[in-house]
């Protein structure tokens, strides 16, 4: 898995004012025969929000999107847009548009006709269609390809046409089903930035489905992490990274050290480590990010920090940083992120702030 920069680079500005709810998904469940794909999903999407549904393949993320679009019906639960119940309506009556994974451009129509399709079936006057199509193509910089057939343009260009075709209808909500997965890495990063700025420009709520956590972090206002058809956590990228709710979330988003600990009398014990914490007695699980651990200098340790000495096992170069694995007493192996080029001795002192060890719930084992 690609590394997540320590800063968890995000293009988003934190949503300032609470926005009104646009779409609400209420207790939606779906099963195909015996195979349960979604279990009681509830979530709300605000006007103008960029929400990413993140999950591995088979997590049910695409099914959830297809239920909102209307290509799939929920086994139970409801989908509401404002005071209008969406899940009872056929897809062609919903004010929702989709950008499909493989774009699904009509091969027999030109770029221009593809973009104008929605307006044409809605019976808009030709003059209006022409001007809105021209405007939409302008926005995605595809004007010079207006008369081309989809097979004659590149994947990135098809992507833009698919976007224009959806946005020209001025939907209240745009669904995007892994729209960047077919593009190569460079183009993909470029499209992430373009897509995000386009979203801010048009102000339409986006629901973006992806399996790529880095993509989710870069683009989203909020991330909903799905696992085996269940919602693990829904939060802003920063929050989901710094305050993961479960062990699964902590591991899925970036690297982490999962510490199996025991709480006794206000103290957390983990192998040779211990630090004070106000937690109920018993076993507990902590997530400690590699960048939260420092290689301690010879100077006196920060008083409240947890300090441990270990033996260097492995060093992996990641550009600006390196990930080192350190064998600590009690069988504990910690992964630590250090600046590149810092000379690491074989015997190394590590320290971290107790506050950076985040208690997480154990995710129930499921398949």
């Amino acid at each position: 898995m690609a590394t997540v920069p320590t800063s968890a680079a995000t293009l988003t500005t934190t949503p300032a004012t609470p926005r009104s709810t646009l779409l609400s998904i209420r207790n939606v469940a779906k099963s195909f025969g015996k195979n349960v794909v979604l279990r009681e999903i509830s979530l709300e999407i605000a006007e103008g929000e960029f929400l990413t549904i993140l999950g591995e393949s088979g997590s049910g993320k695409t099914t959830l999107l297809r239920i909102v679009a209307g290509f799939e019906s929920a086994s139970s639960g409801e989908v509401w847009m404002g005071d209008e119940r969406l899940d009872r309506q056929p897809p062609y009556r919903r004010r929702v548009n989709t950008v499909f994974q493989h774009y699904a451009l009509f091969p027999h129509l030109t770029v221009e006709q593809n973009v104008g399709y929605g307006l044409r079936v809605a019976g808009r006057p030709e003059a209006e269609i022409a001007s809105r199509v021209a405007e939409a193509l302008e926005k995605v910089r595809m004007t010079q390809h207006a008369k081309s057939k989809p097979s004659k343009i590149s994947g990135g260009q098809q992507q833009r046409v698919a976007l224009a075709r959806a946005l020209v209808n001025r939907p209240r909500l745009l669904l995007l089903d892994e729209p960047l997965s077919a593009l190569d890495a460079n183009l993909r990063r470029q499209m992430q930035v373009e897509l995000k700025s386009l979203q801010r420009e048009v102000g339409i709520a986006f629901v973006f489905v992806t399996h790529d956590q880095e993509e989710a972090m870069v683009m989203s206002d909020r991330i909903a992490l799905l696992r085996s058809g269940e919602l693990e956590q829904i939060a802003t990228p920063r929050e989901i990274y710094s305050q993961p709710a479960t062990a699964y979330v902590a591991q899925f988003i970036g690297h982490t050290n999962l510490l199996q600990c025991e709480v006794r009398q206000g103290e957390v014990h983990c192998g040779a480590l211990s630090w004070p914490a106000q937690l109920p007695e018993g076993p507990a699980l902590f997530s400690l990010r590699p960048e939260s651990i420092q290689v301690a200098a010879t100077k006196p340790a920060t008083p409240s920090y947890v300090r441990v000495r270990g033996r260097l096992l492995q060093q992996a170069f990641h550009g600006a940083t390196e990930l080192i694995r350190v064998q600590c007493p009690g069988g504990l192996v910690l992964t630590v992120r250090t600046p590149s080029g810092a000379g690491i001795p074989d015997e190394v002192d590590l320290e971290f702030s107790p506050a950076s060890a985040v208690p997480v719930r154990q995710s129930p084992g499921r398949n």
Binding site: A69, G70, F71, P90, P91, Y92, R93, V96, N97, T98, F100, Q101, H102, A104, L105, F106, P107, H108, Y117, G118, V121, A122, K149, S151, R165, A166, N169
Partner: protein, 282 residues
Amino acid sequence: MFSRAYKTIVTVPPLLWVTVFLLIPYLLMFCYSFWSVSPAQTIVRSWDLANYQTLFRVNVYWQTLLRSMWIAARVTIFSLLLGYPLAYFLSFYAGKRKDLLYQLVIIPLWVSYLVRAYAWKTILGSDGVLNTLLQYLHLARHPLEFLLYSPFAVVLTLTHIYTPFAFLPIYAALEHIPRNLVEASHDLGATPAQTFWKVIFPLSIPGVVAGATFAFVLSLGDFLAPLLLGGPSGIMISNIVVSLFGAAYNWPLGAAISLCMLALVVSLLFLSERLEKKWSFS
């Protein structure tokens, strides 16, 4: 790469086959079409266009050719009208029963042509199933004579026989339409009817052209159905060719008519290929 000897061994037999069984017979036919028959019933190798002139001057020949085309055109239209909805239903709505229904469409192709033609004879005859039923229900006082030994019987039988040939390419074309295009169309606000006419039908045109070509070409050259069920008013051009090569013993004229039909069919195939290319996008 393959050796020269290997290439020769592989290419020679099919070439030989095509030469002996296609090219030479066609060449012979071509020659025959310029020759003539003497009053003493011998072939005279005189080179002229008399046979082609006969074909266009003698009413019975060109009229029968036109009638054959008209019958083939009707068969084509009815085959498409039956085959398209069937293919559409199977491809889009049959769900789990798709494979079974597909087999049911294909199985009749394994039944002998003669059996199917005779079946219609027993159904349409004056004391056949249909007439007996109509009289029993007092819907007809006398057996309906036009049912059998008429162009109607020929069109009906040929439609029955060639509908699967129209169905197959249409079904293949419909199966090739990515389903996300249909979803995209609905997503953009198109009703199912709009989606059909703006997306599904245009993308199935290559299949329709191929199916129409099959139905037309096959029924144009048919001679068994008109022989068994056509009667005097339902004979087709192939029946004339058969009799010219047989009882009438006029091979030169038969060859000339055959070559005209061949030219017609080849130009149709050429046209249909152009059309299919124009409407395929991949």
